[in-house]
Symmetry: D2
Subunit: 364 residues, 4 copies
């Protein structure tokens, strides 16, 4: 099942960018939870296109719930939410059938699906599939809140412009709740201004740029997860690599840990009140695949949007000749910006899955 993740809480997305609709089925939500639809709409709005830094494709992306809710309250049956595709312009893509776009999934998809893949707008590979993911993840965030767990993310870098990082020891739920109006979503507004300038400039040159999103979860109990192949890192990484354009995932100190000494990296235990905490948190809140109770910290690398207006060399498959391609659809110059709530969604869904698995029943 390529389009599903989760064990106790299963999330299945469906749809193609230019088909009738996209959607999600979420199986395993606890019964009795009243979805706050206004809060969900605010969550969705953070991912929605339309700002000056993102694609001009503008769709309301309002989820229509087909099942799983009775008067807005989860009933235990699978929740299905559908989002209509109202603003599709397939003409943008008609010429591309024979020319796989560089660094898009066009070519491997054509091989795998023997030429029958729906490549219009990226089809099932499109970043648009993250909209239903945010429906599911927005609800997961709300349920986690009821259980004292908060999830939040920010743009850690765009190109070589860096935001400051979360304090991995002291980050609080309040720190995670950035003002919705702040675009890009950063901790340091001046970094955001520099990012905006860089993105605008890049877009004006018909180019795109990559970025890193950092996400944290606080309020997690110690003891969630499992050793070896079913731990927090395994499951969260597997789900995060399901977000289009992700090329790297690291926890805590991550790749930087590879250049550290043990004496620097080890997180010393100490007592705080009745609890056990660590003086540093290079582990990112996970040891042996299991939560330590410290903040969970993960960073996700996004490649630059492959669709760029600048002319690129490509191959005409039918003739075998090279050709020049210039992509003029509506695309984000930096996918990392709109990915912030998507990374939160995936993290929240994975954490909720593990919480349900460990506890059986949770607060709704």
């Amino acid at each position: 099942m390529s389009s599903q993740f989760g064990k106790r809480l299963k999330v299945s997305v469906f749809g193609q960018s230019h088909g009738d609709a996209i959607g999600v089925v979420v199986d395993g939500l606890p019964a009795g939870f009243a979805v706050d639809e206004a809060a969900l709409a605010r969550f969705m709005a953070r991912r929605a296109p339309g700002g000056t830094l993102t694609t001009p494709r503008s769709e309301a992306d309002t989820p229509h719930f087909l099942s799983g809710l009775v008067d807005g309250v989860t009933c235990g049956a699978p929740l299905c939410a559908v989002i209509q595709n109202t603003n599709t312009r397939s003409g943008d893509y008609a010429a591309l059938a024979d020319q796989p776009r560089p660094s898009h999934a066009d070519y491997p998809a054509a091989v795998k699906y023997h030429g029958f893949a729906d490549l219009r707008g990226g089809g099932h590979f499109s970043g648009r599939l993250t909209a239903p993911l945010c429906v599911a993840g927005g609800i997961a965030c709300q349920i986690l809140q009821k259980n004292g767990i908060s999830v939040g993310a920010h743009v850690a870098s765009v190109g070589n412009v860096h935001d400051r990082l979360f304090d991995p020891v002291a980050v609080t739920a309040d720190d995670l709740a950035l003002p919705a109006s702040r675009t890009p979503a950063v901790l340091d507004p001046s970094a955001g201004e520099a990012m905006a300038a860089l993105i605008t400039d890049t877009a004006n040159r018909g180019d795109s740029i990559g970025g890193v999103v950092e996400c944290a979860a606080v309020g997690l109990p110690a003891g969630l997860g499992a050793p070896l192949y079913d731990g927090v890192e395994n499951r969260l990484a597997a789900a995060l690599f399901g977000i289009p354009a992700v090329k790297g995932v690291e926890f805590g100190a991550g790749f930087a840990a590879a250049a550290m000494l043990g004496s620097e990296h080890n997180d010393a235990y100490r007592r705080e009140g009745m609890g056990v905490v660590t003086a540093t948190n290079h582990a990112g809140g996970i040891l042996g695949g299991i939560t330590t109770g410290m903040p969970l910290v993960v960073r996700v690398a996004f490649k630059p949007t492959p669709s760029i207006a600048q002319p690129q060399t490509t191959l005409r498959l039918s003739s075998g000749e090279t050709d020049t391609l210039s992509i003029h659809g509506r695309h984000d110059p930096c996918v990392a910006l709109r990915a912030v709530p998507v990374v939160e969604a995936v993290t929240a869904l994975t954490v909720l899955d593990m919480l349900l698995e460990e506890k059986g029943e949770i607060t709704v």
Copy 2:
């Protein structure tokens, strides 16, 4: 099932570092494959402890096959291989019960398992569990070879000493086959010498150090994998994070892609003979979760070994008082060195799993 990965080819490891034995069950191996036990022994030897740069714990780690083979040929039934633990010295760990070792799984494991976890030598969390993984992976490598696919890895960095990286476009099967005698396993012997000096010096100071392992697979057909949550990156990352001490995984350009422009990062297609190739390979051989046919390239960050001889501050859980801890067991100063064949094993098992899933039947 925390100790299992794979779909069509399932790998389950079991055992604790200081228990009777450790082992692996591999279900789904194609029938009719004659295991080359001598080649497997050589593969295992690359992971085995004993060199001057690794732990002095010396165990033959010879797998005993309980099932799945008839006269050395796979019969289609699950293969179970067991490795006896002959050289356990639990006394080294007796004092640690009340003092969770910093950056080990001791504390979260104690919470999760309510004080019943086997913490001796790291128990089920021990790096020793990678030995049976290498039994499975060594066999997977042999089967892949029969299908024209080679997997190889090297130590890309230790601390700030860097080996050169694989050429992601031109790397060949021969490049992947490093001489077994080369320790650390590097492409550039002079980098290996610098790493060895750094590790020796670090160990002499009672400290440890992190590193990065880079792995590549060549000969992969285009079209393996799947979009979204069940692609090559999802599955391979999930499995790689199951290797103890891994804190980051990146494919192709990885985190560096986050600082690139689309015009730099995009891999232009061109024809080569009858095939389609790319001029660069920032994708690491994967687009949309599906192989492109170019070399698969993944890098894995290992944190420094948490067990160090230098005194560390820790907590005595029973009294709540802080204390000083100095760990004198047998430990590798840099786990990345012995992780080279382990990363190959996990990569080979994951690739073989996807190949079996896609093809149904393969060459044995």
Copy 3:
């Protein structure tokens, strides 16, 4: 994931009987298959309510495809089909909230979902959820046909009225294709008349009655399935028990085998043309969980519809007092009749799943 089955081909149903819509997501269909929508409509019509022997609830049950098809051809992305609920009359059920209907899921669902289950019309437990299952299964039947495999079922018994059974050795694809006009779907029309009379009489008395559906698949290659826990019987039984009202599943001689001698039961091998066949087929086409190449034969027992007009004793949960309940909604007096295509759908989906798993690629 309670609402999903399959491994390589995953089927997830969603919806509640009186919600907005019900539907199905099918992930793993081979790309490039042109769905015959007219044939699918005929398949769906066999399950549809409306006849004199079934519930008067009449809904067109036309699937609307949201994804997975491009111009009627599968594209490899998950197929989502939605069926609107247009004819819901929740008033029928309003009084039942406090009175769990005997032999319905009302009571255990109320316990499991802490009072939040949607019990209207049976909610997610309703037989209505078999409509989207038939969308998926109808497509699976078409794909199997392309691969030389036919699936068909009939009503083997209603109460004590028995149809003749399939000849487990000689049954052909033609035998499996009963005329769509024949209601109930039986091999022997005179048995059908007796069943119809019995059902009409039972319904007139405000009662319901059970029945058995027998299903066969021909054209299967030998070698599909697997030993122990993932064989044909395991997977097919697990899926068949997902049809509401099923209380027993047997393969080949089934329970009758328990009263047989080995010398009677054993199926002797003989050669037929170039193939290996058996003189009898008490195995129902499966040995050791693996197909033998002989017809697959399975029988499924359906309990009587629990909703009956006759007064029944029940419990008023709020007061703890007993009360009398008479159920006047629209219900089938014998669910086995409309279950015939449902059993075919589940069988076809399971067979297709195993075929895809074994072959990797199949004919579309």
Copy 4:
């Protein structure tokens, strides 16, 4: 993974009848449970061969625990138990390579595994694989006992000799605990005598005979399981069909329900003390895939042992000629007898799996 079942509690068996050893890995057992090895040995003894009614192959079948226990207490890591094969006589089977035994898995296994299957003694398909299953199941029974749940089974029939059935409403834990000395395990000793006479007579004629095992579980809470494809019946049936020779599974009234009226079959609710019970239990304790709190009742049909001494017609595959086969190995004339604890084991493991899934934590 053909040799595994369970979700939260995963059971993987491995081994071939005439290989070095057989065994089981159980992942997900709660930590802190002290295994009663003496009670486990008594449980295993009920399955062991050696009585006058069973195969003369006599093996101690003592499990050796390689992992998962520390001083006899579960530590949370996967438990691996191995049983050596000490009494293999492969010579019995040498002549069979070219002659698939009727109603054994020999032929489909040879097809599936391209001639490489280990057919000696049934290989991985052998009933011998139920020994490690009983190790796992015996432990599961002990853990369930701590949680107030008892599981027990008896031989309901052999050929046409029937034991009385469990009272599905009033059966108690005491009723489930038959004296270990009673062989066959029946509720009515006179039925057992008639069964013994029938089996002895059948064996003397070089023949075998089928039987039915009935199993019940009491003390289950209401609310375990799930609707549709992941309910109690789905999961238990899937696992039970993994016991060699099983051809049918039914719950509660089962196939008899197909001949009942709704007015007969419906189980009326009534209050008993503070709880809700039903006056009858045709549901077998399950509605909509979820436990009702009434006793769980399941019956399992076993075919006659295919290995019989009487001459049978078979096919010589190499020449295509028919031949006569007479099987003189050591075989049970009625596998249902020794299957009694096996059915208990599978039931206990499945119930424990669902209990862990629902509750997260249970009593150890």
